[in-house]
Protein backbone atom coordinates (compact mmCIF):
# COMPACT_ATOMS: atom_id res chain seq x y z
CA UNK A 1 0.00 0.00 0.00
CA UNK A 2 2.70 2.45 0.93
CA UNK A 3 4.64 1.43 -2.15
CA UNK A 4 1.60 2.22 -4.24
CA UNK A 5 1.24 5.60 -2.56
CA UNK A 6 4.86 6.50 -3.04
CA UNK A 7 4.67 5.46 -6.67
CA UNK A 8 1.70 7.75 -7.07
CA UNK A 9 3.60 10.62 -5.52
CA UNK A 10 7.00 9.98 -6.91
CA UNK A 11 7.15 7.44 -9.70
CA UNK A 12 5.50 5.93 -12.72
CA UNK A 13 2.15 5.82 -10.92
CA UNK A 14 2.00 9.61 -11.05
CA UNK A 15 2.26 9.65 -14.84
CA UNK A 16 -0.13 6.77 -15.26
CA UNK A 17 -2.84 8.45 -13.19
CA UNK A 18 -2.38 11.73 -15.02
CA UNK A 19 -2.85 10.11 -18.39
CA UNK A 20 -5.27 7.30 -17.51
CA UNK A 21 -8.05 9.43 -16.01
CA UNK A 22 -8.49 11.70 -19.05
CA UNK A 23 -8.14 8.80 -21.46
CA UNK A 24 -10.79 6.88 -19.52
CA UNK A 25 -13.03 9.96 -19.70
CA UNK A 26 -12.52 10.19 -23.46
CA UNK A 27 -13.15 6.48 -23.84
CA UNK A 28 -16.45 6.70 -21.94
CA UNK A 29 -17.78 9.87 -23.60
CA UNK A 30 -16.30 9.53 -27.10
CA UNK A 31 -15.24 5.90 -27.57
CA UNK A 32 -18.37 4.25 -26.21
CA UNK A 33 -20.77 6.46 -28.23
CA UNK A 34 -18.69 5.63 -31.29
CA UNK A 35 -19.26 1.91 -30.72
CA UNK A 36 -22.86 2.40 -29.65
CA UNK A 37 -23.43 4.26 -32.90
CA UNK A 38 -22.34 1.23 -34.92
CA UNK A 39 -24.46 -1.05 -32.74
CA UNK A 40 -27.57 1.09 -33.24
CA UNK A 41 -27.06 1.15 -36.99
CA UNK A 42 -27.68 -2.62 -36.98
CA UNK A 43 -30.77 -2.42 -34.73
CA UNK A 44 -34.36 -1.40 -35.11
CA UNK A 45 -34.72 1.70 -32.92
CA UNK A 46 -37.99 3.50 -32.34
CA UNK A 47 -39.44 5.68 -29.60
CA UNK A 48 -40.51 2.58 -27.62
CA UNK A 49 -37.21 0.72 -27.71
CA UNK A 50 -35.22 3.88 -27.07
CA UNK A 51 -34.92 3.15 -23.36
CA UNK A 52 -33.72 -0.43 -23.61
CA UNK A 53 -30.50 -1.99 -24.82
CA UNK A 54 -32.32 -5.12 -25.91
CA UNK A 55 -33.52 -4.15 -29.37
CA UNK A 56 -34.15 -6.43 -32.33
CA UNK A 57 -31.21 -6.88 -34.67
CA UNK A 58 -31.95 -6.16 -38.32
CA UNK A 59 -28.62 -6.73 -40.04
CA UNK A 60 -27.88 -4.33 -42.85
CA UNK A 61 -31.50 -3.28 -43.24
CA UNK A 62 -30.84 0.30 -42.05
CA UNK A 63 -28.03 0.72 -44.55
CA UNK A 64 -30.16 -0.64 -47.38
CA UNK A 65 -33.04 1.63 -46.33
CA UNK A 66 -30.87 4.74 -46.13
CA UNK A 67 -29.28 4.19 -49.50
CA UNK A 68 -32.59 3.48 -51.19
CA UNK A 69 -34.18 6.73 -50.00
CA UNK A 70 -34.75 9.11 -52.93
CA UNK A 71 -33.18 11.95 -50.92
CA UNK A 72 -29.89 10.13 -50.31
CA UNK A 73 -28.00 10.70 -53.53
CA UNK A 74 -28.88 14.38 -53.96
CA UNK A 75 -27.75 14.93 -50.36
CA UNK A 76 -24.51 13.06 -50.95
CA UNK A 77 -23.98 15.15 -54.06
CA UNK A 78 -24.62 18.32 -52.04
CA UNK A 79 -22.11 17.13 -49.46
CA UNK A 80 -19.43 16.67 -52.11
CA UNK A 81 -20.17 20.07 -53.69
CA UNK A 82 -20.18 21.73 -50.27
CA UNK A 83 -16.88 20.16 -49.24
CA UNK A 84 -15.03 20.66 -52.53
CA UNK A 85 -16.17 24.24 -53.13
CA UNK A 86 -15.71 25.31 -49.51
CA UNK A 87 -12.19 23.93 -49.36
CA UNK A 88 -11.25 25.32 -52.77
CA UNK A 89 -12.53 28.80 -51.86
CA UNK A 90 -10.98 28.84 -48.40
CA UNK A 91 -7.68 27.54 -49.63
CA UNK A 92 -7.22 29.79 -52.66
CA UNK A 93 -8.25 32.99 -50.87
CA UNK A 94 -6.42 31.97 -47.69
CA UNK A 95 -3.25 31.19 -49.63
CA UNK A 96 -3.40 34.49 -51.52
CA UNK A 97 -3.79 36.40 -48.25
CA UNK A 98 -1.00 34.40 -46.61
CA UNK A 99 1.34 35.23 -49.51
CA UNK A 100 0.40 38.90 -49.26
CA UNK A 101 0.97 39.10 -45.51
CA UNK A 102 4.22 37.13 -45.81
CA UNK A 103 5.84 40.27 -47.24
CA UNK A 104 6.33 41.23 -43.63
CA UNK A 105 5.63 44.97 -43.62
CA UNK A 106 5.21 46.75 -40.27
CA UNK A 107 1.87 45.81 -38.73
CA UNK A 108 1.35 42.79 -40.97
CA UNK A 109 1.25 40.20 -38.20
CA UNK A 110 -1.21 42.23 -36.12
CA UNK A 111 -3.61 42.80 -39.03
CA UNK A 112 -3.30 39.16 -40.04
CA UNK A 113 -4.28 38.15 -36.52
CA UNK A 114 -7.45 40.26 -36.75
CA UNK A 115 -8.76 37.88 -39.40
CA UNK A 116 -8.99 35.15 -36.77
CA UNK A 117 -11.88 37.04 -35.15
CA UNK A 118 -14.15 34.97 -37.37
CA UNK A 119 -12.75 31.82 -35.86
CA UNK A 120 -13.64 32.57 -32.23
CA UNK A 121 -17.20 33.67 -32.99
CA UNK A 122 -20.12 31.36 -32.18
CA UNK A 123 -21.26 29.59 -35.35
CA UNK A 124 -24.83 30.75 -34.80
CA UNK A 125 -23.74 34.40 -34.77
CA UNK A 126 -21.84 33.89 -38.03
CA UNK A 127 -24.96 32.27 -39.43
CA UNK A 128 -27.19 35.15 -38.28
CA UNK A 129 -24.79 37.70 -39.78
CA UNK A 130 -24.74 36.00 -43.16
CA UNK A 131 -28.45 35.37 -43.06
CA UNK A 132 -28.96 39.12 -42.95
CA UNK A 133 -26.31 39.89 -45.59
CA UNK A 134 -27.83 37.28 -47.91
CA UNK A 135 -31.43 38.29 -47.22
CA UNK A 136 -33.45 38.43 -50.44
CA UNK A 137 -35.22 41.80 -50.31
CA UNK A 138 -32.97 44.03 -48.27
CA UNK A 139 -29.72 42.07 -48.04
CA UNK A 140 -26.59 44.11 -48.63
CA UNK A 141 -25.03 41.49 -50.93
CA UNK A 142 -27.90 41.69 -53.39
CA UNK A 143 -27.63 45.47 -53.26
CA UNK A 144 -23.89 45.35 -53.98
CA UNK A 145 -24.31 42.88 -56.85
CA UNK A 146 -27.12 44.99 -58.31
CA UNK A 147 -25.13 48.21 -58.17
CA UNK A 148 -22.19 46.47 -59.83
CA UNK A 149 -24.54 45.33 -62.59
CA UNK A 150 -23.82 41.63 -61.98
CA UNK A 151 -27.47 40.74 -61.33
CA UNK A 152 -30.61 42.53 -62.41
CA UNK A 153 -33.02 40.93 -59.94
CA UNK A 154 -32.61 40.08 -56.28
CA UNK A 155 -31.47 36.53 -55.56
CA UNK A 156 -33.31 34.87 -52.71
CA UNK A 157 -30.24 33.06 -51.49
CA UNK A 158 -31.67 31.05 -48.65
CA UNK A 159 -35.06 30.18 -50.13
CA UNK A 160 -34.24 29.55 -53.79
CA UNK A 161 -33.32 25.87 -54.28
CA UNK A 162 -30.82 26.79 -56.98
CA UNK A 163 -28.86 29.04 -54.59
CA UNK A 164 -29.49 27.75 -51.07
CA UNK A 165 -26.44 25.48 -50.95
CA UNK A 166 -24.29 28.34 -52.25
CA UNK A 167 -25.54 30.61 -49.50
CA UNK A 168 -24.04 28.22 -46.94
CA UNK A 169 -20.89 27.70 -49.00
CA UNK A 170 -20.24 31.45 -49.14
CA UNK A 171 -20.62 31.76 -45.37
CA UNK A 172 -18.43 28.70 -44.79
CA UNK A 173 -15.69 29.99 -47.07
CA UNK A 174 -15.70 33.26 -45.14
CA UNK A 175 -15.41 31.33 -41.89
CA UNK A 176 -12.57 29.13 -43.13
CA UNK A 177 -10.38 31.74 -44.83
CA UNK A 178 -8.81 32.92 -41.60
CA UNK A 179 -7.79 29.48 -40.41
CA UNK A 180 -6.36 28.51 -43.80
CA UNK A 181 -4.46 31.76 -43.98
CA UNK A 182 -2.91 31.47 -40.50
CA UNK A 183 -1.78 27.87 -41.00
CA UNK A 184 -0.39 28.57 -44.47
CA UNK A 185 1.44 31.61 -43.06
CA UNK A 186 3.21 29.31 -40.61
CA UNK A 187 4.32 27.12 -43.51
CA UNK A 188 5.48 30.12 -45.55
CA UNK A 189 7.52 31.46 -42.64
CA UNK A 190 9.38 28.15 -42.42
CA UNK A 191 10.80 28.37 -45.97
CA UNK A 192 14.46 29.50 -45.78
CA UNK A 193 14.92 33.02 -47.20
CA UNK A 194 18.19 32.15 -48.98
CA UNK A 195 16.34 29.86 -51.42
CA UNK A 196 14.56 32.92 -52.78
CA UNK A 197 17.76 34.95 -52.81
CA UNK A 198 19.54 32.24 -54.79
CA UNK A 199 16.63 32.06 -57.25
CA UNK A 200 16.65 35.84 -57.62
CA UNK A 201 20.37 35.75 -58.44
CA UNK A 202 19.61 33.16 -61.12
CA UNK A 203 17.07 35.58 -62.58
CA UNK A 204 13.82 33.82 -61.59
CA UNK A 205 10.67 35.92 -61.64
CA UNK A 206 7.94 35.90 -59.04
CA UNK A 207 5.82 33.24 -60.69
CA UNK A 208 8.81 30.92 -61.19
CA UNK A 209 9.79 31.31 -57.54
CA UNK A 210 6.26 30.43 -56.52
CA UNK A 211 6.13 27.28 -58.69
CA UNK A 212 9.61 25.99 -58.02
CA UNK A 213 10.21 27.02 -54.40
CA UNK A 214 7.05 27.99 -52.54
CA UNK A 215 4.73 25.20 -53.68
CA UNK A 216 7.20 22.29 -53.35
CA UNK A 217 8.41 23.51 -49.95
CA UNK A 218 4.84 23.85 -48.73
CA UNK A 219 3.75 20.36 -49.76
CA UNK A 220 3.28 18.90 -46.29
CA UNK A 221 1.66 22.09 -44.98
CA UNK A 222 -0.76 22.15 -47.90
CA UNK A 223 -1.62 18.51 -47.31
CA UNK A 224 -2.30 19.19 -43.65
CA UNK A 225 -4.33 22.34 -44.33
CA UNK A 226 -6.51 20.67 -46.93
CA UNK A 227 -7.21 17.61 -44.82
CA UNK A 228 -7.93 19.86 -41.81
CA UNK A 229 -10.24 21.83 -44.10
CA UNK A 230 -12.04 18.61 -45.00
CA UNK A 231 -12.41 17.72 -41.32
CA UNK A 232 -13.74 21.16 -40.38
CA UNK A 233 -16.04 21.35 -43.39
CA UNK A 234 -17.60 18.01 -42.48
CA UNK A 235 -18.11 19.35 -38.94
CA UNK A 236 -20.03 22.37 -40.18
CA UNK A 237 -23.51 22.26 -38.72
CA UNK A 238 -24.31 25.66 -37.23
CA UNK A 239 -24.40 27.46 -40.58
CA UNK A 240 -26.93 25.00 -41.97
CA UNK A 241 -29.05 25.30 -38.84
CA UNK A 242 -29.05 29.07 -38.98
CA UNK A 243 -29.15 29.89 -42.70
CA UNK A 244 -31.22 27.29 -44.57
CA UNK A 245 -32.07 24.40 -42.19
CA UNK A 246 -31.13 22.15 -45.09
CA UNK A 247 -34.02 23.39 -47.17
CA UNK A 248 -35.90 24.17 -49.22
CA UNK A 249 -36.74 20.55 -50.04
CA UNK A 250 -33.27 19.26 -49.08
CA UNK A 251 -31.65 21.44 -51.75
CA UNK A 252 -29.02 22.59 -49.26
CA UNK A 253 -28.97 19.51 -47.08
CA UNK A 254 -25.67 17.74 -46.43
CA UNK A 255 -24.95 14.43 -44.73
CA UNK A 256 -23.88 15.80 -41.35
CA UNK A 257 -27.03 17.92 -41.06
CA UNK A 258 -29.23 15.18 -42.45
CA UNK A 259 -27.99 12.71 -39.82
CA UNK A 260 -29.06 15.10 -37.07
CA UNK A 261 -32.38 15.82 -38.80
CA UNK A 262 -33.09 12.08 -39.06
CA UNK A 263 -32.61 11.62 -35.31
CA UNK A 264 -34.00 14.83 -33.89
CA UNK A 265 -36.62 15.94 -36.41
CA UNK A 266 -37.98 12.61 -37.61
CA UNK A 267 -36.98 10.64 -34.48
CA UNK A 268 -35.60 7.86 -36.67
CA UNK A 269 -32.53 7.21 -34.53
CA UNK A 270 -31.52 4.05 -36.39
CA UNK A 271 -31.23 5.87 -39.71
CA UNK A 272 -29.54 8.81 -37.98
CA UNK A 273 -26.98 6.43 -36.52
CA UNK A 274 -26.50 4.73 -39.89
CA UNK A 275 -25.74 7.99 -41.72
CA UNK A 276 -23.44 8.97 -38.86
CA UNK A 277 -21.48 5.73 -39.13
CA UNK A 278 -20.94 6.24 -42.86
CA UNK A 279 -19.85 9.86 -42.43
CA UNK A 280 -17.62 9.14 -39.43
CA UNK A 281 -15.81 6.58 -41.58
CA UNK A 282 -15.20 9.32 -44.19
CA UNK A 283 -13.92 11.73 -41.54
CA UNK A 284 -11.66 9.05 -40.09
CA UNK A 285 -10.03 8.41 -43.45
CA UNK A 286 -9.46 12.16 -43.88
CA UNK A 287 -7.88 12.43 -40.47
CA UNK A 288 -5.55 9.49 -41.05
CA UNK A 289 -4.28 11.41 -44.08
CA UNK A 290 -3.95 14.50 -41.87
CA UNK A 291 -2.03 12.68 -39.15
CA UNK A 292 0.27 11.13 -41.74
CA UNK A 293 0.99 14.44 -43.40
CA UNK A 294 1.99 15.98 -40.08
CA UNK A 295 3.71 12.87 -38.82
CA UNK A 296 7.29 14.03 -39.05
CA UNK A 297 6.24 17.11 -37.12
CA UNK A 298 4.38 15.04 -34.54
CA UNK A 299 7.45 12.93 -33.98
CA UNK A 300 9.45 16.15 -33.84
Amino acid sequence: MSRLLSSLRDGKGFDIVLVAVPLAFLLVFSGLPLIYNVVMSFQAVDMFSLGTFNRPWVGFKNYVDVFSLPATWPIMRNTVIFVVCSIAGQFVIGFALALFFARGFPGSSYIRGLFLASWVMPGLVVGAMWNWILAGDFGVLNYALRSLGIISENIFWASNPAWSLWAVIVANIWLGISFNMILLSVGLAAIPRDLYEAAALDGANGLQKFWTITLPMMRSTIGAVISLGLIFTLQQFDLFASITSGGPANSSNVAQYWAWEMSFRQYDFAKGATISVVMIAVVMIASVIYVRSTRHEVRG
Partner: protein, 275 residues
Protein backbone atom coordinates in the same frame (compact mmCIF):
# COMPACT_ATOMS: atom_id res chain seq x y z
CA UNK B 1 9.77 54.09 -54.59
CA UNK B 2 11.48 53.90 -51.19
CA UNK B 3 10.98 51.01 -48.81
CA UNK B 4 9.02 53.22 -46.42
CA UNK B 5 6.58 54.08 -49.19
CA UNK B 6 6.16 50.47 -50.27
CA UNK B 7 5.48 49.52 -46.68
CA UNK B 8 2.92 52.27 -46.31
CA UNK B 9 1.14 51.13 -49.47
CA UNK B 10 1.17 47.51 -48.32
CA UNK B 11 -0.21 48.55 -44.96
CA UNK B 12 -3.04 50.41 -46.68
CA UNK B 13 -3.88 47.40 -48.84
CA UNK B 14 -3.75 45.15 -45.75
CA UNK B 15 -6.14 47.45 -43.87
CA UNK B 16 -8.43 47.41 -46.89
CA UNK B 17 -8.42 43.62 -47.02
CA UNK B 18 -9.08 43.34 -43.30
CA UNK B 19 -11.95 45.84 -43.58
CA UNK B 20 -13.44 43.88 -46.46
CA UNK B 21 -13.10 40.62 -44.57
CA UNK B 22 -14.55 41.97 -41.35
CA UNK B 23 -17.38 43.80 -43.13
CA UNK B 24 -20.04 41.24 -42.04
CA UNK B 25 -19.10 41.98 -38.45
CA UNK B 26 -19.35 45.72 -39.06
CA UNK B 27 -22.69 45.24 -40.75
CA UNK B 28 -24.01 43.40 -37.70
CA UNK B 29 -23.04 46.28 -35.40
CA UNK B 30 -24.40 48.95 -37.75
CA UNK B 31 -27.71 47.15 -38.27
CA UNK B 32 -28.21 46.69 -34.54
CA UNK B 33 -27.95 50.49 -34.13
CA UNK B 34 -30.37 51.40 -36.92
CA UNK B 35 -34.08 52.18 -36.74
CA UNK B 36 -36.61 49.91 -38.42
CA UNK B 37 -37.09 52.09 -41.51
CA UNK B 38 -33.34 52.61 -41.91
CA UNK B 39 -32.74 48.86 -41.97
CA UNK B 40 -35.04 48.43 -44.95
CA UNK B 41 -33.87 51.51 -46.82
CA UNK B 42 -32.53 51.30 -50.38
CA UNK B 43 -29.70 52.07 -50.80
CA UNK B 44 -28.64 50.77 -47.38
CA UNK B 45 -26.80 53.37 -45.32
CA UNK B 46 -23.24 52.53 -44.34
CA UNK B 47 -23.62 54.43 -41.05
CA UNK B 48 -26.63 54.69 -38.75
CA UNK B 49 -28.13 58.17 -39.14
CA UNK B 50 -28.89 58.45 -35.43
CA UNK B 51 -27.63 55.45 -33.43
CA UNK B 52 -30.41 53.78 -31.46
CA UNK B 53 -29.96 51.66 -28.37
CA UNK B 54 -33.60 50.64 -28.20
CA UNK B 55 -32.98 47.36 -30.08
CA UNK B 56 -30.64 46.22 -27.33
CA UNK B 57 -33.00 47.10 -24.52
CA UNK B 58 -35.93 45.48 -26.33
CA UNK B 59 -34.07 42.26 -27.14
CA UNK B 60 -32.53 41.96 -23.69
CA UNK B 61 -35.94 42.14 -22.04
CA UNK B 62 -38.22 40.30 -24.46
CA UNK B 63 -35.83 37.47 -25.34
CA UNK B 64 -34.76 36.89 -21.76
CA UNK B 65 -31.12 37.24 -22.74
CA UNK B 66 -29.76 37.44 -19.21
CA UNK B 67 -30.97 33.91 -18.59
CA UNK B 68 -29.58 32.60 -21.90
CA UNK B 69 -26.16 34.20 -21.43
CA UNK B 70 -25.97 32.94 -17.86
CA UNK B 71 -26.66 29.39 -19.12
CA UNK B 72 -23.97 29.78 -21.79
CA UNK B 73 -21.57 30.94 -19.11
CA UNK B 74 -22.36 27.95 -16.89
CA UNK B 75 -21.82 25.50 -19.76
CA UNK B 76 -18.64 27.23 -20.94
CA UNK B 77 -17.15 27.49 -17.42
CA UNK B 78 -17.95 23.89 -16.60
CA UNK B 79 -16.43 22.71 -19.87
CA UNK B 80 -13.35 24.86 -19.39
CA UNK B 81 -12.77 23.68 -15.81
CA UNK B 82 -13.27 20.01 -16.58
CA UNK B 83 -11.13 20.19 -19.71
CA UNK B 84 -8.31 22.01 -17.94
CA UNK B 85 -8.31 19.67 -14.93
CA UNK B 86 -8.30 16.50 -17.03
CA UNK B 87 -6.38 17.72 -20.05
CA UNK B 88 -3.40 19.41 -18.42
CA UNK B 89 -2.03 16.26 -16.81
CA UNK B 90 -2.63 14.28 -19.97
CA UNK B 91 -0.80 16.85 -22.08
CA UNK B 92 2.10 16.88 -19.61
CA UNK B 93 2.65 13.13 -19.78
CA UNK B 94 2.26 13.08 -23.56
CA UNK B 95 4.88 15.82 -23.84
CA UNK B 96 7.34 14.31 -21.36
CA UNK B 97 7.82 10.83 -22.79
CA UNK B 98 8.46 9.38 -26.22
CA UNK B 99 7.58 5.76 -26.83
CA UNK B 100 5.12 3.54 -28.64
CA UNK B 101 2.41 3.85 -26.00
CA UNK B 102 2.62 7.62 -25.99
CA UNK B 103 2.42 7.67 -29.78
CA UNK B 104 -0.64 5.45 -29.64
CA UNK B 105 -2.33 7.67 -27.05
CA UNK B 106 -1.49 10.74 -29.12
CA UNK B 107 -2.93 9.14 -32.22
CA UNK B 108 -6.14 8.29 -30.35
CA UNK B 109 -6.42 11.86 -29.08
CA UNK B 110 -5.91 13.25 -32.59
CA UNK B 111 -8.54 10.91 -34.01
CA UNK B 112 -11.10 11.87 -31.35
CA UNK B 113 -10.55 15.52 -32.20
CA UNK B 114 -12.09 15.12 -35.62
CA UNK B 115 -15.44 13.51 -34.79
CA UNK B 116 -18.22 15.89 -35.89
CA UNK B 117 -20.58 16.77 -33.05
CA UNK B 118 -23.65 16.49 -35.26
CA UNK B 119 -22.75 12.84 -35.99
CA UNK B 120 -21.87 11.95 -32.39
CA UNK B 121 -25.03 13.43 -30.91
CA UNK B 122 -27.26 10.51 -31.94
CA UNK B 123 -25.49 7.83 -29.85
CA UNK B 124 -24.69 10.33 -27.07
CA UNK B 125 -28.34 11.39 -26.81
CA UNK B 126 -29.66 7.82 -26.77
CA UNK B 127 -26.99 6.61 -24.35
CA UNK B 128 -27.39 9.58 -22.00
CA UNK B 129 -31.16 9.19 -21.95
CA UNK B 130 -30.77 5.50 -21.06
CA UNK B 131 -28.49 6.16 -18.09
CA UNK B 132 -30.64 9.10 -16.96
CA UNK B 133 -28.08 11.83 -17.60
CA UNK B 134 -30.59 13.83 -19.62
CA UNK B 135 -32.33 14.68 -16.35
CA UNK B 136 -29.35 16.97 -15.76
CA UNK B 137 -29.18 18.46 -19.26
CA UNK B 138 -26.55 21.11 -18.61
CA UNK B 139 -24.23 18.56 -17.01
CA UNK B 140 -24.85 16.24 -19.97
CA UNK B 141 -23.88 19.02 -22.38
CA UNK B 142 -20.77 19.86 -20.33
CA UNK B 143 -19.63 16.22 -20.41
CA UNK B 144 -20.26 15.85 -24.15
CA UNK B 145 -18.60 19.15 -25.04
CA UNK B 146 -15.61 18.35 -22.82
CA UNK B 147 -15.11 15.06 -24.63
CA UNK B 148 -15.18 16.97 -27.89
CA UNK B 149 -12.94 19.84 -26.78
CA UNK B 150 -10.34 18.03 -24.69
CA UNK B 151 -8.28 16.58 -27.57
CA UNK B 152 -7.81 20.09 -28.98
CA UNK B 153 -6.77 21.37 -25.54
CA UNK B 154 -4.33 18.47 -25.08
CA UNK B 155 -2.68 19.14 -28.45
CA UNK B 156 -2.26 22.85 -27.66
CA UNK B 157 -1.03 22.42 -24.08
CA UNK B 158 1.30 19.59 -25.04
CA UNK B 159 3.11 22.01 -27.35
CA UNK B 160 3.50 24.36 -24.36
CA UNK B 161 4.89 21.65 -22.09
CA UNK B 162 7.38 20.62 -24.76
CA UNK B 163 8.89 24.09 -24.59
CA UNK B 164 9.52 23.75 -20.80
CA UNK B 165 13.10 22.48 -20.38
CA UNK B 166 13.21 19.05 -18.74
CA UNK B 167 16.38 20.01 -16.86
CA UNK B 168 14.40 22.35 -14.61
CA UNK B 169 12.20 19.51 -13.46
CA UNK B 170 15.21 17.21 -12.95
CA UNK B 171 16.90 19.89 -10.87
CA UNK B 172 13.81 20.14 -8.69
CA UNK B 173 13.79 16.35 -8.22
CA UNK B 174 17.50 16.39 -7.25
CA UNK B 175 16.71 19.09 -4.72
CA UNK B 176 14.34 16.67 -3.01
CA UNK B 177 10.97 17.50 -4.55
CA UNK B 178 8.54 14.68 -5.18
CA UNK B 179 7.18 14.28 -8.71
CA UNK B 180 3.96 15.98 -7.60
CA UNK B 181 5.97 18.82 -6.10
CA UNK B 182 8.10 19.30 -9.20
CA UNK B 183 5.04 19.23 -11.42
CA UNK B 184 3.03 21.59 -9.25
CA UNK B 185 5.71 24.12 -8.28
CA UNK B 186 8.05 24.10 -11.30
CA UNK B 187 6.45 22.82 -14.50
CA UNK B 188 2.91 24.16 -14.10
CA UNK B 189 3.92 27.76 -13.34
CA UNK B 190 6.23 27.75 -16.36
CA UNK B 191 3.45 26.50 -18.65
CA UNK B 192 0.82 28.74 -17.05
CA UNK B 193 0.39 31.12 -19.98
CA UNK B 194 -0.10 28.40 -22.56
CA UNK B 195 -2.60 26.59 -20.37
CA UNK B 196 -4.50 29.82 -19.71
CA UNK B 197 -4.78 30.76 -23.39
CA UNK B 198 -5.87 27.24 -24.36
CA UNK B 199 -8.45 27.23 -21.58
CA UNK B 200 -9.80 30.57 -22.82
CA UNK B 201 -10.06 29.15 -26.34
CA UNK B 202 -12.03 26.21 -24.95
CA UNK B 203 -14.27 28.65 -23.08
CA UNK B 204 -14.93 30.57 -26.31
CA UNK B 205 -15.76 27.37 -28.20
CA UNK B 206 -18.09 26.11 -25.49
CA UNK B 207 -19.71 29.56 -25.19
CA UNK B 208 -20.86 29.26 -28.80
CA UNK B 209 -21.66 25.55 -28.69
CA UNK B 210 -24.92 24.66 -30.40
CA UNK B 211 -25.51 21.05 -31.53
CA UNK B 212 -25.35 19.33 -28.14
CA UNK B 213 -27.33 22.03 -26.35
CA UNK B 214 -29.98 22.15 -29.05
CA UNK B 215 -30.45 18.38 -28.94
CA UNK B 216 -30.17 17.64 -25.22
CA UNK B 217 -31.65 20.67 -23.43
CA UNK B 218 -35.41 20.80 -23.83
CA UNK B 219 -36.30 23.28 -21.09
CA UNK B 220 -35.93 26.79 -22.47
CA UNK B 221 -34.87 28.22 -19.11
CA UNK B 222 -31.77 26.00 -19.24
CA UNK B 223 -30.80 26.65 -22.87
CA UNK B 224 -27.71 28.68 -23.83
CA UNK B 225 -27.71 31.81 -25.99
CA UNK B 226 -26.89 29.90 -29.20
CA UNK B 227 -30.15 27.95 -28.96
CA UNK B 228 -31.98 31.15 -28.05
CA UNK B 229 -30.63 32.85 -31.17
CA UNK B 230 -31.67 29.89 -33.29
CA UNK B 231 -35.28 29.93 -32.09
CA UNK B 232 -35.31 33.70 -32.62
CA UNK B 233 -34.36 33.31 -36.31
CA UNK B 234 -37.45 31.89 -37.97
CA UNK B 235 -37.43 31.09 -41.70
CA UNK B 236 -39.29 34.25 -42.76
CA UNK B 237 -38.03 36.65 -40.15
CA UNK B 238 -37.86 40.39 -40.73
CA UNK B 239 -36.73 41.38 -37.25
CA UNK B 240 -33.20 41.97 -38.44
CA UNK B 241 -32.48 44.89 -36.13
CA UNK B 242 -33.39 42.78 -33.11
CA UNK B 243 -31.56 39.69 -34.31
CA UNK B 244 -28.41 41.70 -34.96
CA UNK B 245 -28.75 43.29 -31.51
CA UNK B 246 -29.02 39.82 -29.98
CA UNK B 247 -25.97 38.63 -31.93
CA UNK B 248 -24.06 41.75 -30.92
CA UNK B 249 -24.74 41.27 -27.22
CA UNK B 250 -23.78 37.62 -27.54
CA UNK B 251 -20.54 38.03 -29.46
CA UNK B 252 -19.08 41.27 -28.11
CA UNK B 253 -17.59 39.82 -24.89
CA UNK B 254 -15.88 37.10 -26.96
CA UNK B 255 -14.53 39.62 -29.46
CA UNK B 256 -13.30 41.86 -26.65
CA UNK B 257 -11.41 38.95 -25.09
CA UNK B 258 -10.06 38.05 -28.52
CA UNK B 259 -8.74 41.56 -29.22
CA UNK B 260 -7.07 41.71 -25.80
CA UNK B 261 -5.42 38.29 -26.16
CA UNK B 262 -5.02 38.29 -29.93
CA UNK B 263 -1.28 37.81 -30.10
CA UNK B 264 -1.26 34.93 -27.62
CA UNK B 265 -4.26 33.22 -29.21
CA UNK B 266 -2.73 33.34 -32.68
CA UNK B 267 0.63 32.00 -31.52
CA UNK B 268 -1.03 29.32 -29.41
CA UNK B 269 -3.14 28.16 -32.33
CA UNK B 270 -0.29 28.08 -34.81
CA UNK B 271 2.03 26.20 -32.46
CA UNK B 272 -0.56 23.56 -31.70
CA UNK B 273 -2.43 22.96 -34.89
CA UNK B 274 0.41 21.82 -37.10
CA UNK B 275 2.76 20.29 -34.54
Amino acid sequence: MSIAWTNRMLLLVALGLAALYLFPLYWMYVTSLKTGSEIFATPPGMFPASPQWSNFVYVWETRNMGRFLWNSTIIASGTMALTAILGTGCAYVLARYRNGWIDLALFLVLMLQVLPASLMITPIFVGFSQIGLLNYPQLAVILAVTAKAMPFFVVLVRATFMSVPGELEEAALVDGNSRIGAFWFIVLPLARNGILVSAILIFMQAFGEFVYSKSMIQASELQPASVGLNTFMGPNTTEWGNIMAYATIYVTPILAAFVLLQRRIVSGLTSGALK
